[in-house]
Symmetry: C2
Subunit: 149 residues, 2 copies
């Protein structure tokens, strides 16, 4: 049962629209701030690998990075009112600064802020799911990440 709902969620994510700037439709990324409060804000993914891994781009001086340096716990939420679904992913997030990752994840919209993928102020945030909670057309699925997720 969960497998069918996961497959449906991954199909939804695969159909996310890519904007002219090269990033995917927005989701919400929640981190923990320096005072121990969750902070949920909108961000456009660079890449979505099913419900297993979501990758973002940002600046090394951003609040995202400052918070992740103190606490790597994170949650990503995809939703749509029109299609009535909620995809909640909970896991860890890491800051990648190697050139290969930065080149792979770079998208055009980043050109407003950085000189290019090799800009030292530009970095990648890679979220990996440990737990998921899906609600699609009133069907629920909850579970822990396993090898195949």
């Amino acid at each position: 049962m969960n497998e069918a709902i996961i497959a449906q969620a991954e199909k939804i994510l695969a159909n996310r629209v890519r904007f002219e700037q090269g990033c995917l439709e927005c989701c919400v990324l929640a981190l923990i701030d320096a005072d121990g409060y969750p902070t949920a804000a909108t961000i456009s993914p660079s890449k979505i690998d099913g419900i297993k891994r979501i990758t973002f781009c940002t600046g090394t001086g951003s609040n995202w990075v400052k918070r992740i340096e103190k606490c790597n716990h994170a949650s990503v939420c995809f939703n749509s009112e029109d299609e009535q679904y909620n995809i909640t992913l909970v896991g860890t997030i890491e800051i990648l600064t190697d050139i290969a990752a930065k080149k792979e994840m770079w998208f055009d919209g980043m050109g407003y802020y950085f000189s290019g993928p090799e800009d030292p102020g530009f970095c990648v945030l890679q979220f990996t799911t440990q737990r998921y909670s899906l609600m699609l057309n009133e069907h629920d699925a909850n579970g822990q990440a396993r090898g195949t997720l």
Copy 2:
């Protein structure tokens, strides 16, 4: 400057559509789970009082309630890709079970789950903003909640 952006954010929130079920357009509520991870999921507010206070309805046995009982830190995120805004609110959230609050916040959609506003399984979640971070049409505003917020 912040006052103008706050006023614009509050105008956006005041224009949120009320569905046939009586609840307002969805937002994302992030709480902290038992393991110290943020968990961000979609929920429809019952009432929005500017950027100061957002009220939700749920069941006393829900994950929302279980998490708030352990940690009352919360974040609410409103966004729209069409209109390109992000409203991030960070603060505390409390569980209300008094009949007056339950009657005030009850909306038709709750009738699927509860017998009525006096159902002991039904409760209200009241979020109060301590800090806001707004991005509207590329204008930013950040601040702490004060008397007038």
